[in-house]
């Protein structure tokens, strides 16, 4: 037991020292304004941007409408009650219910804005004029670019993935276009809003006037999908979903599926890995040749995967420097060796919901992770009002 104790002591000291260092955004106060009647896909973006800042130590005050942020009731729900979506998006924040339809509510908001560095809010906000006139730098989350009929056009995440051209890229060419799983339209915009927020804080910190930031989900989606526009401009033809004609395909294996991915320079290693003499045919030597004979190529590749497990496939491929991707579900990631080794999934104890496990911010800062604190409870938010 002796050695274990001596090893534990420096660890504990090390933790105490690093945790004693202030969190990087601890100097800043941020208001996350949740007005009533805002499309949920905008709210998810706002809340994600503010969550990143809160986990980094900013004092984030979430202002909820009477009845609370509707995300509190949004799926997926936890078996013990409450929304997993809300718990993930609102870590490390404080919360306050304000009725912004009343003079008193707006006056309270005005006082909070005077003390804040930044205010995140969504279009259309009933209090947009008040926010834009305040001392806090406004960061506005919208659905569409200013040039469109932005405030009144109905929006959904699916519509954004369609408009931004992402759906055109996923699926079989002869079948309907597909969205990516998860809340990608909202979350990409949330990450963009966080980077705009950081730029605004940097300007304030350097003594400059911070610019007003406006993020629209539709612009972010096009920005993310830039290769569609770049490809269309270069060749006159847009790239699009290729499905079973694509060089990268999903193949079944013994315990699931694997994404077959390799670059042009990794083809010889891929050929060696599969080890089938038919792949030595000259018609597979060039990228153009492989694309031309793609069905035949995959007919040769598939049997190699069929009786192997994902772990075995990944091991063999990585040993040859081939980037095949075994497909894991969110549940399987809970046990992923790499995530466990890096403590990427944080465990926290919520006062009423108990044990919760969720991803931490995906960065380590001098080896330090940012453990999130539980999202604020509704009863306390109402009490604070």
């Amino acid at each position: 037991m002796g050695p274990a104790l001596t090893e534990a002591t420096p660890c504990a000291d090390h933790r105490a020292m690093t945790e004693a260092a202030p969190l990087p955004l601890a100097r800043f106060t941020i208001v996350e304004l949740n007005d009533a009647g805002v499309p949920l896909c905008l709210r998810l973006a706002t809340s994600l941007a503010a969550k990143v800042a809160a986990d980094l130590g900013a004092d984030v005050l979430k202002i909820e409408p009477p009845g609370g942020d509707p995300v509190r009731r949004a799926p997926p729900l936890l078996p013990q009650g409450g929304s997993a979506l809300f718990q993930f998006l609102n870590t490390s924040k404080r919360s306050l219910v304000l009725d912004l339809r009343t003079d008193a509510g707006r006056a309270s908001l005005g006082r909070l804005l005077d003390r804040a560095d930044v205010c995140l809010f969504e279009e259309p906000a009933s209090v947009a004029a008040l926010v834009r006139a305040g001392k806090a730098t406004p960061i506005e989350i919208a659905a569409f670019p200013l040039e469109m009929d932005a405030a009144t056009r109905p929006v959904s995440e699916l519509a954004i993935q369609a408009l931004g051209g992402l759906m055109h890229m996923v699926g079989e060419p002869a079948c309907k276009p597909l969205k990516l799983g998860g809340h990608q339209a909202s979350y990409a915009a949330g990450l963009a809003a966080f980077s705009g927020l950081a730029a605004a804080l940097a300007a304030r910190d350097a003594g400059q006037r911070a610019p007003h930031v406006r993020v629209s989900l539709a612009e972010v989606m096009q920005w993310v999908n830039w290769k569609a526009a770049s490809g269309a401009a270069a060749t006159g033809t847009s790239p699009g979903r290729e499905g079973k004609a694509s060089e990268f395909q999903i193949v079944p294996c013994r315990d699931g599926h694997v994404a077959v991915v390799y670059t042009v320079t990794q083809w010889p290693a891929t050929r060696a890995l599969i080890g089938d003499k038919r792949l030595d045919d000259v018609k597979f030597n060039t990228r153009a040749g492989r694309r031309q004979h793609i069905a035949e190529l995959y007919a040769i590749l598939r049997p190699w995967f069929a009786n192997k497990r994902r772990a075995e496939i990944q091991r063999a491929a990585q040993a040859k420097g081939v980037p095949f991707g075994p497909i894991f579900s969110p549940a399987e990631l809970l046990g992923a060796e790499q995530y466990v080794a890096r403590s990427f999934l944080a465990e926290m104890t919520h006062p009423t919901l108990g044990r919760l496990v969720m991803p931490q911010l995906p960065v380590q800062w001098n080896g330090r992770s940012f453990a999130p604190r539980p999202a604020p409870e509704m009863a306390r938010a109402e009490l604070a009002a």
Binding site: L158, K176, G181, Q208, V215, A232, A259, F328, L345
Partner: protein
């Protein structure tokens, strides 16, 4: 445009999207970004996007142009002692390093965080890698859509009841979002370094960034093993009816309904896509055409600030947000290979003619690729 990062200088080893685009966003905000390549190792975007094999092909890739505007470009050989020395000296004049090499590459050249922080303790060093800088899989290779698969995104993407799907090589979705996240974190770290006088090592795992976007799914799965983990088509939990529908003109539109309507298929099939979208929007229903790249180029209002022209007339990527209502100003086109090597070595390090000629003759600096020769 306002330049919140004016006075910040970046030593940029970023390649392809994940690295090069992170530093491009900093350049757009006013940072002086010095992109380091070498004749022996170009940003792969110069190669995969080359339009032809004529002289100067390495300076004509649209993908490279999209991702490296507003930067200065240097070619310094990382394997040459004189190249390494110049880079170490440049690190003394920089606030930030951005790199997305495989782990260990810069360490082997004596240019890793441990070495550079000795020269400049205020340096922030952003290492963006597939799996992060620690853990049993830290040396794993991946390419774009590998991470769609291993992050969980692919498992929830696909037609109902069918196999999972990836975003594919023309999207490489995980590479795009990591640059959005990393740019924000890096700005926070530079602010903190300026305040405290102490830099930081930032370890980004691209796979973790992609999994982070499924936070609620991972949390839900941790409490409920029966939580659905299958491809969901175009549906969404909590939404009664949502899908892509084919219109009379053959085009697809995406529609989200708040009350179910079994007649939506035939409604769309009997109209052109433009008419169907307009009619649905007029009823307060979210609807949109499934645009392709050509549509995005044509719809200037929709493009907003996402596409800009550089001084040579080339189309490049804008910013994903506006500052004071405006998009980014392209002050310089993406650099030719080694275009600013001499300029920067004179300006920051005081190198003279003789030294610059010596570097060129030894191959430490260059303006042409030597691929295949080294």
């Amino acid at each position: 445009m306002i330049r919140p990062l004016a006075g910040v200088r970046v030593l940029d080893f970023g390649l392809l999207t994940a690295g090069a685009n992170t530093s491009a966003m900093l350049a757009d905000l006013g940072a002086d970004v010095l992109k380091i390549e070498s004749g022996a190792y170009l940003d792969p975007f110069r190669v995969v996007g080359k339009p032809d094999n004529e002289e100067g092909w390495w300076n004509r890739s649209p993908q490279f142009r999209f991702t490296n505007r507003n930067k200065r470009g240097l070619a310094l050989n990382l394997k040459d002692p004189a190249g390494q020395r110049a880079i170490r000296e440049l690190a003394g004049h920089c606030d930030l390093v951005v790199e997305n090499f495989r782990r260990g590459v810069l360490d082997r050249a004596g240019l890793g965080y441990a070495a550079l922080k000795e020269i400049n303790p205020r340096l922030v060093f952003a290492a963006i890698s597939s799996q992060g800088d620690t853990g049993p899989e830290r040396m794993n290779v991946s390419f774009g859509s590998t991470l769609d698969a291993t992050s969980g995104i692919a498992s929830l993407t696909g037609y109902l009841g069918e196999e999972p799907r990836i975003s594919g090589m023309d999207v490489n979705y995980p590479d795009q979002i990591v640059s959005l996240f990393a740019a924000g974190i890096v700005i926070a770290a530079v602010m903190e370094a300026r305040r405290s006088g102490t830099g930081a090592f930032l370890d980004f795992s691209q796979r973790e960034v992609a999994s982070f976007t499924l936070g609620e799914e991972i949390l839900a799965a941790s409490g409920d093993p029966t939580h659905s983990q299958r491809p969901r088509g175009n549906g969404q939990q909590g939404v009664v009816q949502q899908d892509a529908y084919r219109c009379g003109d053959g085009r697809w539109i995406a529609v989200t309904l708040e009350t179910p309507d079994p007649g939506l298929d035939s409604f769309c099939a009997s109209r052109d896509s433009n008419q169907a979208v307009a009619a649905l929007l007029a009823r307060g229903i979210a609807a949109a055409p499934c645009n392709d790249g050509t549509d995005l180029l044509a719809d200037v209002k929709l493009a907003g600030v996402t596409l800009v022209r550089d001084e040579r007339g080339g189309l490049v990527k804008g910013l994903p947000y506006r500052l004071d209502g405006k998009g980014v100003t392209i002050e310089r086109a993406a650099p030719d290979l080694g275009q600013h090597t001499d300029e920067v070595l004179r300006e920051l390090l005081g190198y003279g003619d003789a030294e610059l000629v010596r570097l060129k003759e030894s191959g430490a600096t260059s303006t042409t690729p030597t691929i295949g020769e080294t």
